[in-house]
Subunit: 186 residues, 2 copies
């Protein structure tokens, strides 16, 4: 989902979650497993003082409602990774099918991800896209290195729900976007 | 998704990710946000020496392909949480729509989750259900307390893919099961 690497971005050294095992899946075997595993779609934004960044992620999930905590992971290959590894607060936009073009923007490399979508800043400074199903401003409370990625845990501070169940949900699966609705319910 | 609490299960004290904030979402606000966020469906099994446990989770996501790492979270309210908080290895079953009845079993409280499904043990001892889309045996490499839940990071050791793209994917959204296919593609 995340954009491809930019040349100037280097991988972190000595990730803490790296250990060796007698048996281990190859990268290709692992990717084949998860290609078949669908995910909801979010766009995460932040600004750590050097301009706004955004990226599309399918790894956002809720961990606890009280306190309100969510997690997601970001690859160090993403152009947004450096900012997201330093930002104290972030905005997680939870998308539905009406937000498909924003999801595609956040997954495309080498473009200005803020050029073609309405956005502004919250009074607290974070970039927020307009018109999405919902967004939630969060404080980052924990980061865990995991291979070439970082797992981020965040505490939800403030939210806005624009479309509550009225739109069709958006899912990414096997390199294809899907919409959920009565047509897909079992 | 996880089962409701069993009486004998108590919440962990002093979760490390608990901090206070001036503003914070209520549990109801947070649940409303994520009710609209779809997730792929997995059943996680383990045995830490006191018998097999299983639970359905929509929080499984891939973090890194090299090394092959995934994460998920478990509520301390789940009957499987105590075993999963101690097990050194686990099996994550990644389900498709043909596995719906197993997904429902892993989300139902107060039943024997191994009574009505074919399962056996790997040579390494972990319980594995038969006939699912795919499963992956993992070593737990990191646990992070987050409110009343635990975030688990695991390294993939061994996998089996039974249905590679031939079945229809399974998604949980707004308390409803969905199947993905040509009918849902955008």
């Amino acid at each position: 989902m995340a954009s491809t690497a930019r040349p100037e971005r280097s991988a972190p050294s000595a990730p803490s979650a790296e250990r060796s095992f007698d048996a281990s899946l190859s990268a290709d075997e692992f990717k084949a497993l998860f290609r078949g595993h669908p995910g909801g779609v979010a766009v995460i934004t932040a600004d750590a003082g050097e301009g706004p960044v955004a990226l599309t992620a399918t790894s956002v999930s809720s961990v606890s409602a009280e306190p309100p905590l969510l997690i997601f992971s970001i690859s160090s290959q993403s152009s947004a990774s450096e900012t997201l590894s330093r930002a104290e607060t972030i905005v997680v936009h939870l998308l539905d099918a009406d937000d498909l073009s924003l999801a595609q923007t956040g997954a495309t490399s080498g473009i200005d991800r803020f050029a073609d979508h309405h956005w502004s800043r919250l009074v607290t400074g974070e970039p927020v896209y307009h018109g999405v199903r919902a967004w939630v401003r969060c404080a980052v409370i924990e980061r865990m290195d995991a291979g070439g990625s970082t797992v981020v845990a965040a505490h939800a501070l403030q939210s806005s729900i624009e479309r509550d169940g009225s739109g069709e949900a958006l899912v990414y699966h096997n390199r294809t976007w899907h919409r959920l609705g009565d047509h897909s319910a079992i």
